[in-house]
């Protein structure tokens, strides 16, 4: 009886998964097609070819640079957000830091500040500081906007760190910096996993500020590049989907590789919101 219902569950899962995979399979399938059988609804059609890939790689020597732009912006943002927010959360937990409630609440109020609301002033600031077409014109704002959320997530974990543990470390002559690096950071690890993944996804996908800041074709991030191909390959869906597949595959591979670590990190501690 029980086995029977479990089997039904498996069937449901497989069905849902197939439906979920349609858009990605569609993209990959289209990327191997010639113009003749572009719109056949089946997954595999006759005369599939890799010519689309050869063509777009030849035509777009900048693609690899764009990939590194995205990677540099995202990785720098993730590292800076993680460092700043763990440090801040630790600072908030110290005694005799007067006004910390005020600072914390102020940060909390900007938890949901959407980047679209700030694009106008941020582009003005970037142009004043000469950060147009500079990676830091994206990294700094992303970091600032990522910190409030990271702090709220980490705060839950910081509160769970037992006082006794800290006191024992201090009695043993552990300085503040060592306490932070060797005791607190490991305790915050599950929370750090959440913010790293979230920050990675938001920075990797950010579009609006990048659109207004990056005009140099070689420095543009991948979302912008994809958007431009949508225009330039408008009448050649095969090439368009080939280039989209090239953009997508590295992140999917990366995710499949870190998937185990990710889930392990997440499940190591409850997500406290």
């Amino acid at each position: 009886m029980k086995k029977h219902s479990d089997k039904i569950c498996l069937v449901i899962l497989i069905l849902v998964m197939i439906i979920f995979m349609i858009p990605l399979l569609y993209m990959i399938s289209m990327s191997f097609r010639t113009a003749d059988n572009m719109y056949s609804p089946s997954l595999i059609v006759e005369g599939m070819t890799i010519n689309n890939y050869v063509k777009v790689i030849k035509e777009n020597p900048n693609l690899i640079k764009n990939f590194f732009s995205s990677a540099f912006v995202t990785v720098s943002t993730v590292i800076l957000v993680t460092i700043c927010s763990t440090m801040a959360v630790f600072g908030f937990s110290r005694k005799n830091v007067h006004g910390k409630v005020f600072i914390y609440n102020m940060l909390l109020c900007t938890l949901m500040v959407p980047i679209s609301g700030l694009v106008i002033p941020l582009t003005q600031i970037n142009s004043k500081l000469g950060l147009i077409d500079n990676y830091f014109g994206l990294i700094f704002p992303y970091v600032a906007l990522g910190i409030p959320f990271a702090i709220t997530i980490l705060q839950g974990f910081m509160m769970a760190v037992p006082r006794e543990l800290e006191e024992a470390a201090i009695v043993d002559g552990c300085g503040m910096v060592r306490l932070f690096v060797q005791i607190i950071c490991p305790m915050l690890r599950p929370g750090i996993v959440v913010i790293v993944i979230w920050q990675f996804l938001t920075s990797w996908n950010e579009f609006f500020l990048a659109l207004c800041t990056m005009t140099d074709a070689a420095k543009q991030t991948l979302p912008l590049v994809a958007q431009q191909y949508n225009g330039s390959y408008f009448s050649q869906p095969g090439s368009l989907f080939a280039v989209l597949t090239i953009i997508t595959i590295p992140t999917l591979v990366f995710y499949v590789l870190v998937q185990k670590q990710f889930v392990k990190g997440l499940t190591a501690g409850a997500v406290k919101g």
């Binding site: 569950c9 899962l13 719109y39 007067h98 109020c109 941020l122 996804l201 919101g273």
Partner: protein, 307 residues
């Protein structure tokens, strides 16, 4: 009594400052001041001028805000934003929860495989998602149209070209993209529910539905809350999907705050008006944040005490 009084007066006289503690907060605070606080002040200042660049600013008082009140597109934008939050947050959570439940509780093998499969849309770049779905929604030879035609139905659908359903088409895409995130958060949450609680429910003869209702859902309160918060943040951030799929059209029917600000500020060069829109939008976000903190907590941080 007297001793305590003396103690507090001594504390008052010599207020100690933990310099190192401040230094730990400093980097976050600097980023906040330069890239959030200053821009907010700047955009508020810019909203009472009429300008295209900083060299020709003309004081306009509250005219920009009066214009917003008169702007008919605002109704559409507010409706779309509310729809976006009201649909994406619960739908993603419900589907995500059931996927997580089936994967974690009903499967013996292949958990990693399914988790990865459902998370792949999240790991796909948002512009890529927008382009794929845009092509699938195309009239005449998009995937959906082809399937409908091959089923022998003589209906033509033009999801993104139809003002009444365009926004739903984009919302549906967003749900597809982000359900995997809800699933993975619920997977994390479910792993925190103690085995003996599930055991106890089973011994008491709870059916699967009752087990879900009385054990799983209440125990996942923290996950529901974080997903609600992230859902609202994500909805307010929406830009790339709309920009790529419809660019707010047809006739502003699928406009979201971000795309409208972009259109007014960068396409039409009405920076003053776009700044006023930004201020309105930021106030809306602040209101949602305060409601969230008030009713759901997130600000219960100082409980550990100031000793």
């Amino acid at each position: 009594m007297a001793k305590a009084a003396v103690k507090t007066s001594v504390l008052r006289q010599k207020k100690q400052y933990n310099i190192k503690g401040y230094l730990f907060i400093l980097p976050a605070l600097l980023f906040f001041c330069i890239y959030i606080l200053y821009p907010i002040l700047f955009v508020s200042w810019g909203s009472v001028f009429s300008w295209t660049n900083l060299r020709n600013m003309e004081f306009a008082g509250l005219n920009n805000f009066i214009e917003i009140l008169k702007d008919r597109n605002m109704v559409k934008i507010i409706r779309n934003s509310v729809l976006w939050i009201l649909i994406t947050v619960p739908v993603q959570a419900i589907i995500g929860f059931f996927l997580a439940y089936l994967i974690e509780e009903r499967l013996k093998k292949g958990r990693g495989f399914f988790r990865t499969a459902f998370f792949l849309p999240v790991a796909t770049s948002v512009s890529v998602v927008a382009i794929i779905w845009g092509k699938m929604y195309l009239p005449y030879n998009g995937l959906f149209q082809t399937i409908i035609t091959s089923m022998g139905l003589d209906i033509s659908v033009n999801v993104l070209g139809n003002p009444t359903i365009a926004i739903y088409g984009i919302i549906f895409t967003n749900v597809w993209e982000w359900t995997g995130w809800s699933m993975i958060m619920y997977v994390a949450g479910i792993s925190q529910i103690p085995e003996d609680m599930k055991e106890a429910a089973r011994i008491d003869g709870a059916t699967k539905w009752k087990e879900i209702k009385y054990v799983f859902l209440p125990m996942l309160a923290a996950t529901h809350k974080s997903l609600l918060m992230l859902g609202i943040i994500g909805s307010l951030q929406t830009f790339a999907l709309v920009y790529t799929m419809t660019n707010g059209g047809p006739n502003y029917a699928s406009e979201m705050p971000g795309t409208y600000i972009f259109k007014m500020g960068f396409t039409n060069q009405q920076m003053g008006y776009a700044s006023a829109l930004s201020v309105t939008f930021l106030l809306f976000a602040l209101m949602l944040t305060i409601i969230q903190i008030k009713f759901l907590g997130s600000g219960d941080f100082m409980k550990r005490g100031e000793e």
